[in-house]
């Protein structure tokens, strides 16, 4: 009975959506991805889809990693405006010190240093917002100055060069036809799934939903919140690594423009600003949708002076869609 089967699928989707709240982002993702590929002139040539997928994901991975971290912080009821600056610092350190592929151990130590910095910066954000009770919007903005200043101090003018061996690996490696950047993304989503189904995940949503109640019930609220900032810092440092592999060079302002998209992506992906709801998968979808929108606008060749406007309008539309649907439904 096809009808029944259809209904089952719809029901399953409803239940799935209720659980993970990614219905709208999923639809946006599907529509924008189909549109992107169908607008390509030579999409059916062998290799085109693979090439486009690779070029998209290797470019977007840094921001998507930041979006993940941002999402965790948002779910926990916070906000991290400093993740872009953490990327800058990581990028600068890598560009300055990873210059030759002949010193794998040295390079590994530098990567560890970058990750260490991400963790430390996240920890500082966490302490300031959670332990000292400062408002995240302001305090992470303030620390973003500190980190950005640090990046500028380390590398006043752009420079450094990551060895080609490394950048080529990042740019062109596939496993089973899947680009490495996409694999990294999937691996992180799976790792998160592992934690989401454990106490950590449950606590996180509780803390974001109502910290006081969670605290009274015995959830280690302070630590949970701090941990989200640490994770955000950690993911930002990974963002720095992938960004450095993408560009092969260092620039003290490299992460500056990544902070806002990390928030917009998460929100389009159904993460709520007030905490306690949303999912990492949805946020990733949201981030990809942002990228797709830019790509599609480029393909349809609008007047180049209108690009900024149209891009913003389409994002606005994507954000407004759920609200509109609700409004119409209520009118009925």
């Amino acid at each position: 009975m096809p009808d029944k089967k259809n209904k089952n699928i719809i029901n399953w989707f409803r239940a799935f959506n209720k659980k993970h709240a990614i219905g709208v982002p999923f639809i946006l993702l599907a529509v924008s991805t189909v549109l992107f590929f169908s607008l390509q002139t030579n999409v059916f040539q062998p290799g085109t889809i693979g090439r486009l997928t690779n070029s998209n994901f290797r470019t977007w991975l840094p921001v998507l990693l930041l979006t993940m971290g941002q999402t965790l912080v948002l779910i926990g009821g916070g906000l991290d405006l400093s993740n872009g600056s953490i990327v800058s610092v990581g990028n600068v350190i890598l560009a300055l010190h990873v210059t030759s592929a002949d010193e794998p151990w040295h390079n590994l130590a530098i990567v560890a240093l970058v990750i260490g910095f991400g963790l430390a910066a996240g920890f500082l954000n966490g302490i300031l917002t959670v332990y000292l009770g400062l408002q995240p919007v302001i305090v992470t903005f303030a620390t973003s100055f500190i980190y950005a200043g640090l990046a500028l101090l380390l590398l006043p003018s752009p420079g450094g060069a990551i060895p080609r061996e490394y950048t080529n690996y990042y740019r062109n490696t596939h496993y089973l036809g899947i680009p490495i950047s996409l694999i990294i993304l999937i691996v992180f989503l799976l790792i998160w799934e592992f934690f989401r189904l454990r106490k950590y995940g449950r606590f996180l949503y509780a803390v974001g939903g109502n910290p006081r109640a969670a605290y009274t019930t015995g959830v280690p609220v302070t630590w949970m919140k701090i941990s989200t900032y640490i994770l955000s810092g950690f993911l930002a440092s990974l963002g720095a690594i992938s960004y450095s592999l993408l560009t092969g060079s260092g620039f003290s302002g490299s992460g500056a423009d990544m902070m806002l998209p990390s928030i917009t992506g998460a929100i389009i992906g159904g993460v709520s600003f007030s905490g306690g709801s949303g999912s990492l998968l949805g946020a990733i979808f949201g981030g990809i949708v942002l990228g797709n929108i830019r790509r599609i606008i480029s393909i349809v060749k609008v007047d180049s002076w209108a690009v900024t406007l149209i891009n913003a309008l389409v994002i606005l539309f994507a954000l407004a869609a759920p609200g509109f649907i609700n409004l119409l439904r209520r009118k009925k």
Partner: protein
């Protein structure tokens, strides 16, 4: 009166003595910073120099504070309210003024009206999105700022030719009386109006109410959505008006003019003791915050530190100031 009540009372008076409001602390910090700046080699050395320096800082701070006025309202209105579109609205206000007035005095009033209307219209869109489409203000106004910026780019196609009207220059940029720039007087008027609006009008009381608890406000007869929308409209109009004033000062407008004022204005609001989660705050606080912020930047400039160090110190000082009095109640109190 038993023993406990005695201690209770004496305690209260001590409390009152110690409990200084955030705006006052901010002002104290400002005074200390200003005195410090006099010690710098490049700082002022005479009383006259000090006065000039103070006036100059006040003038620069005035723009942060005036742009922060609408921001104060939006933040108080709660619901994570914030207006990131203030930056491009300031730019739009400035560019419209600059390009349309083009040096002609008689166009000032019509253009001012147009500017305020456009700011209000953008604010209206923000408000509608926040209330009816339930988009969080941070993102709504962020995306709206993209829309406004985009419309600006499409409109100008990269050309920004114009000229400020002489009267505006006279009123805003030059000294009006006693060597005090006109801008300062405009600022004082705005400060009085804002304080009256917040403390002595029904709008103000209802604004604080929706900032704390929208359900309770609604059940007390407050039209919540209407209030929220009105607040974003006011914020938009005020940002546009700031742009109008700003171009009178800079005499020049570019596509990014407003950007550098956005975050300082938000920080000024926060330093002034307005609670980012809404329901609590004052415009006096924002004024004090703006002065502190401007003093810090001026101080860092005068100290001739490299850009990188300036940024680090700026960020650290902000954190320190917030730690001094920007803390929210912890879970155990």
């Amino acid at each position: 009166m038993n023993e406990s009540e005695v201690s209770n009372n004496s305690n209260k008076s001590i409390k009152k003595a110690i409990k200084i409001s955030p705006p006052l602390i901010a002002m104290l910090i400002a005074v200390v910073l200003f005195l410090l700046s006099g010690l710098l080699p490049a700082g002022y050395s005479t009383l006259q120099g000090a006065i000039r320096q103070a006036l100059n800082i006040l003038r620069l701070a005035s723009f942060i504070a005036i742009i922060g006025a609408g921001q104060t309202l939006v933040i108080i209105s709660g619901g994570e309210g914030i207006d990131l579109s203030a930056a491009p609205i300031v730019t739009v206000g400035a560019l419209l003024t600059y390009m349309i007035i083009n040096g002609q005095n008689y166009l000032i009033l019509p253009v001012l009206l147009l500017v305020i209307l456009i700011g209000a219209a953008i604010g209206l869109l923000n408000g509608l999105g926040v209330t009816y489409l339930k988009i969080s203000p941070f993102v709504m106004t962020l995306v709206m700022s993209g829309v406004v910026q985009g419309a600006l780019i499409l409109w100008t196609k990269g050309y920004y030719d114009g000229k400020v009207a002489p009267i505006m220059t006279q009123l805003v940029a030059r000294d009006l009386i006693w060597g005090i720039p006109g801008m300062i007087f405009i600022w004082i008027i705005i400060g009085i109006l804002m304080t009256l609006l917040l403390e002595r009008t029904r709008y103000g009381k209802q604004l604080f109410a929706i900032g704390v608890n929208r359900t309770a406000a609604r059940l007390s007869g407050v039209k919540v959505n209407r209030m929220v929308i009105l607040t974003y409209v006011l914020a938009g109009a005020m940002a546009a008006f700031s742009g109008f004033l700003l171009v009178g000062y800079t005499q020049n407008a570019g596509p990014n003019l407003g950007n550098q004022y956005l975050f300082p204005s938000i920080i000024a609001v926060a330093i002034g003791g307005t609670q980012m989660s809404g329901g609590k705050g004052s415009y006096i606080g924002t004024i004090a915050g703006a002065i502190v912020i401007q003093l810090i930047s001026s101080l860092l400039t005068t100290m001739q530190l490299p850009q990188a160090l300036q940024q680090i110190i700026y960020g650290s000082l902000l954190v320190v100031i917030l730690i001094i009095y920007g803390r929210e109640k912890g879970l155990r109190s």
